[in-house]
Symmetry: C2
Subunit: 552 residues, 2 copies
């Protein structure tokens, strides 16, 4: 190792959000990674299944040794790309708390990668020695149990990474924020705080998860029929709350949705979720108990058409249907971009006669992220010299930066950067250094990174106006049409109803081919151009146009 190697901190691979899905910490040529999550595609990223960070910087960085991948918690935007990083860097050990390790284990098994790496389970509060770093994990509250932040000891001081957090003083699992550890960090001196900015434009303090208990209790007390609760498959603490309400109100719990059933089993096996066996009932047996004695946990709170709630809304679930008298609680944050789908699902459930309870109708969901007053508290608790807002869009980072300035951190010590920017630290302090590839990669079907902006642009054009293709057989000598050209079109107009338009198209083809004595390539361009002009004039639309001219 070089003498006095520099510390480098690099946020990688967010889509809009910065420093959320993956962060690299390097000391010279030794590195650790914190989190490897996925992002969900924006509505105009047509056909993309999900998005992972671009590992290019890591694969091209010469001489780098990655000593471990540390996870803060088990949500998809932090662990979702685990199989991809393990494929790229096999045999790098993974460090995770029990629940997070359980969720990662399920993923690795599905990808048949469980033998390609080692998962080292730690408890919040444990101190991990990973490569040249001594990492002090500490418990934070969020919307899933077993979350941690990290205090990363470096030769230039302690870097505190908040993970996703809120200061929940009455957490559902009773495990309070580790204020003592944060105070201890502060006593020892914090070089830099990297903190979650998700709600940095929201004033006040995020309500405790436990306010949901009250809302659930009211709904359970009033409901005369079946209750269904839709939430994230990984929202284990919400499942815990449903369990409590079910026990109080004498309802059995059924589970619909493969991923949710698997996660509940895993959390129960680990002892994280304490709901006795006799509280559960098989989904196929719920008709054997009265409607007011059952609550059903379902997936699909984001309005995904193929998840349970989406199927129920459109009557396409094999075992369940929604009927008059059902009460459905939609208990999860709507991911930006999914609002339309969620609202449509809720309306369809109302249409089927259910009563649907959603935020703001009742407090059946609260955010898992800190708001402004909690952010001020974290800054004041840790009292860092430098501050780097992370986990948020640029607008959130700016708002978080303002809070830090109000807390007395000089503007020059606050780093609001985009993904791929390197923060460099040595004995003289922290500064922004060069930029490295920090983008993201689309996953579509089995393809990772094989579609890029050009393909997406084509999909956008096809989505807007469709295409028209003309295949014309012409006489090689005269250039005249030998038979009726074949015309194929999708997504443009309904051809059968567009007889006038098709006549215009055919006469355009005839005209161009008979007037053109040029060579094939040129004639093809001319035909495509003319058809484009004619179609735009007639419809004000611009479908993609392709012509194939076969000389015979």
């Amino acid at each position: 190792m070089a003498k006095n190697p520099k510390l480098r901190i690099i946020p990688l691979g967010g889509l809009g959000e910065i420093g959320k899905n993956m962060t690299v910490f390097e000391l010279g040529d030794d590195a650790i990674i914190v989190d490897t999550g996925i992002m969900f595609p924006a509505n105009d990223m047509f056909g993309v299944d999900y998005i992972i960070p671009d590992f290019k910087y890591l694969t091209e960085r010469k001489g780098l040794k990655i000593h471990g991948i540390l996870y803060t918690h088990g949500h998809e935007d932090h662990v979702g790309a685990t199989q991809h990083i393990v494929q790229t860097f096999p045999n790098v050990p993974i460090y995770a708390t029990p629940l997070t390790a359980g969720l990662i284990g399920v993923k690795l098994e599905e990808a048949r990668l469980e033998k390609t790496t080692t998962v080292k389970v730690f408890q919040a509060g444990d101190i991990l020695k990973v490569g040249p770093f001594v990492v002090e994990s500490y418990h934070v509250c969020h919307s899933i149990p077993d979350c941690v932040g990290f205090g990363i000891n470096t030769p230039y001081g302690l870097v505190v990474h908040s993970g996703d957090y809120k200061f929940d003083n009455t957490p559902v699992d009773g495990k309070k924020p580790d204020y003592a550890k944060l105070a201890e960090f502060s006593r020892r001196g914090v070089l830099m705080l990297m903190a979650d900015s998700t709600n940095a434009d929201q004033p006040g303090w995020t309500p405790s998860e436990s306010v949901i208990d009250g809302a659930f209790d009211a709904v359970f007390r009033q409901a005369r029929g079946r209750i269904m609760v839709a939430t994230f498959a990984s929202l284990i603490s919400r499942v815990h709350q449903v369990g409590k309400a079910a026990q109080v109100h004498g309802r059995k719990i059924a589970v619909a949705g493969h991923s949710m059933a698997k996660n509940i089993k895993m959390a129960r096996d680990l002892g994280i979720l304490n709901i006795p066996d006799e509280m559960f009932i098989d989904l196929n047996r719920i008709n054997q108990v009265p409607d007011n004695k059952v609550v059903i946990l379902v997936t699909g709170a984001q309005g995904e058409p193929s998840a349970v709630l989406g199927r129920l809304a459109t009557g396409r679930h094999r075992q369940l249907d929604v009927r008059e008298g059902d009460t459905i609680i939609v208990s999860s944050h709507t991911i930006p971009g999914n609002e339309e789908m969620v609202n449509r699902t809720i309306n369809r459930l109302f249409q089927k006669g259910a009563d649907v309870i959603y935020d703001p109708i009742a407090a059946v969901h609260v955010s898992g992220h800190a708001r402004q007053e909690e952010m001020r508290l974290l800054i004041n608790l840790t009292n860092p010299k430098y501050f780097m807002p992370v986990h948020g869009e640029l607008r959130h980072l700016r708002a978080h930066g303002k809070l830090a300035m109000q807390a007395g951190i000089p503007a020059n010590n606050i780093f609001i950067v985009e993904n791929g920017f390197v923060l460099e630290a040595d004995k003289n302090g922290v500064r922004v250094s060069e930029r490295v590839p920090g983008g993201y990669v689309f996953v579509d079907g089995s393809g990772v990174g094989d579609i890029g902006p050009a393909v997406i642009r084509d999909r956008e054009t096809l989505a807007r106006d469709g295409f028209m293709m003309v295949v014309a057989n012409v006489d090689a000598k005269s250039g005249e049409l030998l038979d009726d050209p074949e015309i194929i079109s999708r997504g443009f107009v309904y051809l059968r109803d567009a007889t006038d338009l098709m006549a215009t198209v055919k006469s355009t083809i005839n005209e161009v081919l008979s007037n053109s004595n040029s060579r094939n390539g040129n004639r093809r361009d001319k035909l495509q151009e003319s058809l484009g002009r004619v179609l735009y004039n007639e419809t004000r639309r611009r479908p993609m146009i392709f012509a194939v001219i076969n000389e015979q």
Copy 2:
């Protein structure tokens, strides 16, 4: 006219929202229409420009005489389809308040339809005799001046239609809600109230538009450089508020955006907007005054890439650029479905160095619609026998219905219906009758109603996985390929990087064509099927596949 003709009330043509864009009131064969607005397409209605109500019921209804079209206010979701209804029913007079008439006039001129109808201008409070109906207009507060609701006198009692409303006790233009008229309606007895449900799931009372004055004042006081305010082109009261702040803080007003400039001119000509000439400065001349002496009104607050704010965010505006020191206020409600685009625009403006102020950073926008306490007030003020929640999705109507029940209206007297359901009234009261075509029609380019679900489904498939087309010339006798098949594909994979895949495609084509001694149609199907299978196996994607086989 038949003796004792029935009253029929029919909400038509909302997309998700009910009774918002257009309502028909019939008395026997005599009808009036209230509002003819457009809807914005959902994100999965690919390529659709906008959506209008389906006029099918009206065009097919035998013997119906439409006596007038009455408008509540000038927003697009209430007046946007005016040119389409005028084209379908020429010479039916239009009734509108001055500003609404002005906005409609601009539309009719652009569509060259100003001679096809007559616009009769009335003032809020005027009583209109339209066909067999005596309609009492009354002033309501919303987010545009010159809004009205209607009290429609019928043989069976008074029907009160709220229009879009909020109870703003300190309105920007000083024109308070017409409580007196509502109380008078109540004294005379109200048969049915039809009321705006937009915010029915929001507790409390919507803040007055005037709270924005305070937020604007704070921003104007702090800004050291230029200020830009992005809002709807039709949000005239917001322009008024910017004018007040500009006057107080000594800034000139420039306007960027054709539609906004036109609306401001029209509102000033009508005397609705009182900002003196000398307060305005031409956009081309703003460099002649110091940065801290100018405020620029811009369009594009919904993040539309082609409007001014969208162009500024991506550096594509001809006259303006965004730079360090600019303060940009985004002052408008984000239409559901546009969240991603708005947030992306805000992030890009931050990236360019501007400070962006948006809700919830500061109260630079408030809703124009009543919340729950205002809804309760309207119900109690008018004390109707029957209640029909309108202007909202089903979930909002249900929530509004609950408020009405809490106010003492029996559940059987509350009508929560979908578009196209007919409410019928006679001396025995009001009930739900049959359902008529109440859907909507897509407008795409110059086509009205020529694309339907089949074309949209094709666009969806193309957007997700693109297409591949194969044109193969084969020997008519042997069926063997005569030359290399032509392969055209878009939106599927980047062909140039997919050499292995293309080799597989070509060998599949060879194999199918040489093994197949069947006729062309069958062979074509077989080729398409085989290619589909191969591509799915290789990529887990399902592009549309087309094969053309030319026998020579």
